[in-house]
């Protein structure tokens, strides 16, 4: 398909990029382009001005706050995945990055862009089916359509589109902070508030003003994350989105009780899913498979399924129990 005509501007500074987008109503930032160019060509998104931010000096990784890391928004996935401080302090995040997409795409895709990537829901991507995310009020084709891969957590009657990111799953478990600069100045958004559930407005995915640019992602110091892991279950062995993925960082004390736990799930939610209920069910309790199973049950108590995706609940629960059992053993 041929892309509609666009106007192009290559920003030389953050201020210039923010001013260019915020002063033009139909504009968008262009980072790695792995989602944006794809969706432009599919006519799913239709900005008339692209503001290229690839030249901005935001590719750094630097230490912050006694052991945390600040990741520049234009740092590429492949570089972040292999950065020694990421591998050492947050191995589960490194694994999540390397299990996403392909090496070519990881070389292109930026961390800021990854936070803004769009769902792979085929009704969203086809550019014509009713879709409340693409065209508010038009309906949701996935509710009664082919929805084997659609979300079971965080859904609404308006949208059940799955959030596709792997690394965002790690970042919600780590309580990362999204830093932005926009027309109204700087902002810091706790990552769980950055990803909005569809509710009645599926087209609004982030609390970002038009022209507000992600400039960095802060990952706090977290000793338990040094043994974190990310496991991804999918239909083929590589280069595929998750059916279910699990990020875990757990510390069990000498008595065999769960002392610390960060647990998050990919592939099952409309947003990268922090498993708060499972965490609360396990903290202070014995680290046993029975308790892991009870915690997984709690997490999925409100799951909303369809005949095609109800297998995901069993699948995800087993994935949680298996992962935590392997970490414990």
């Amino acid at each position: 398909m041929t892309m509609r005509p666009i106007t192009f501007f290559r920003a030389g500074s953050i201020d210039e990029a923010v001013a260019a987008v915020s002063s033009h109503p139909d504009s968008a930032f262009l980072a790695g382009g792995t989602t944006e160019i794809d969706l432009l060509r599919l006519n799913v998104v239709q900005p008339t001005l692209l503001v290229d931010v690839n030249d901005l000096p935001l590719t750094y990784l630097e230490d912050v706050d006694d052991g945390g890391v600040r990741i520049g928004a234009m740092a590429r996935m492949s570089d972040v995945a292999r950065a020694p401080r990421i591998v050492e302090r947050y191995p589960g995040m490194s694994q999540a990055l390397l299990l996403g997409a392909s090496e070519q795409l990881r070389n292109m895709a930026s961390m800021g862009g990854n936070m803004c990537q769009r769902t792979r829901c085929s009704y969203f991507r086809d550019g014509q089916s009713p879709c409340n995310k693409r065209e508010p009020g038009s309906g949701c084709s996935a509710l009664t359509g082919i929805n084997r891969g659609h979300a079971v957590l965080g859904t609404s009657e308006q949208c059940i589109a799955t959030h596709p990111s792997d690394v965002a799953v790690a970042l919600v478990a780590l309580d990362a902070m999204i830093r932005t600069i926009g027309p109204d100045g700087t902002n810091a958004i706790p990552i769980e508030r950055f990803f909005l559930r569809p509710a009645d407005t599926p087209s609004i995915e982030h609390p970002l003003a038009h022209g507000e640019l992600i400039v960095a992602i802060d990952v706090p110091a977290l000793p338990v994350a040094r043994t974190s892991r990310y496991v991804k279950h999918r239909d083929r062995a590589s280069y595929e989105f998750a059916l279910v993925s699990v990020f875990s960082a757990m510390r069990v004390d000498d008595a065999g009780n769960v002392a610390e736990l960060r647990l998050a799930l990919g592939g099952v939610g409309t947003v990268p899913w922090r498993a708060h209920r499972a965490e609360e069910a396990l903290i202070g309790r014995p680290a046993t498979p029975e308790n892991f199973a009870a915690a997984a049950d709690a997490e999925f108590a409100d799951a909303r399924t369809t005949p095609m995706n109800e297998f995901m609940v069993t699948f995800a629960k087993r994935a949680i129990v298996r992962e935590l059992s392997e970490v414990t053993s």
Binding site: L30, R41, A237
Partner: protein, 174 residues
């Protein structure tokens, strides 16, 4: 920090949507051509520079047939706008052979019969050379994982992997 609206780009900073001059550095040579901003690097190479070695498979970033290098890193030319490539060095399959001598990876693909229809081959080779440079091809599993972005509809994967192993293990390192 408030943004000074006076830093908005002058009209002269905006390019397109009609065709405008663009300068691309491909395989060490500089080309000045006229393109609309919506043109991908892939289409610029094939339709405007007559470099048809880079193939268009899916045109949506899922097959890897369009793999080229930007500043030495393998990327997908279908999801890259040509305008974004100004100031960067692009390398394509046409630039891999040196002085009439096939690159060792090209020769290994021939020796191992690492293609059938051949449509994915330029992308496979660009990806394979980059993989060895990246240093992540120690095991067969490594090779399979890091070549997963290049789909072969003829399923020549065992032979592609054999070619990569041979170049990896060659004394000169390819």
């Amino acid at each position: 920090m408030a943004i000074n609206q006076s830093t908005a780009p002058a009209e002269t900073g905006l390019r397109g949507p009609r065709g405008e001059p663009v300068t691309l550095d491909v395989n060490g040579a500089t080309y000045a051509i006229e393109l609309e901003p919506r043109v991908s690097l892939l289409d610029a190479l094939r339709d405007h520079l007559d470099m048809t070695g880079t193939k268009k498979g899916c045109d949506q970033g899922t097959c890897g047939a369009c793999t080229v290098w930007m500043d030495g890193r393998r990327v997908l030319s279908c999801l890259t706008l040509a305008y974004s490539c100004e100031g960067h060095q692009i390398a394509t399959i046409e630039g891999i052979a040196q002085d009439g001598e096939l690159h060792p990876m090209q020769q290994a693909f021939i020796d191992h019969d690492a293609f059938q229809c051949g449509y994915c081959t330029p992308g496979q080779i660009m990806s394979a050379i980059a993989l060895l440079r990246e240093g992540n091809a120690t095991t067969d599993a490594d090779i399979a994982e890091h070549m997963s972005g290049n789909i072969c509809r003829c399923q020549a994967y065992p032979n592609i992997h054999a070619a990569i192993r041979e170049v990896r293990d060659a004394d000169d390192g390819g």
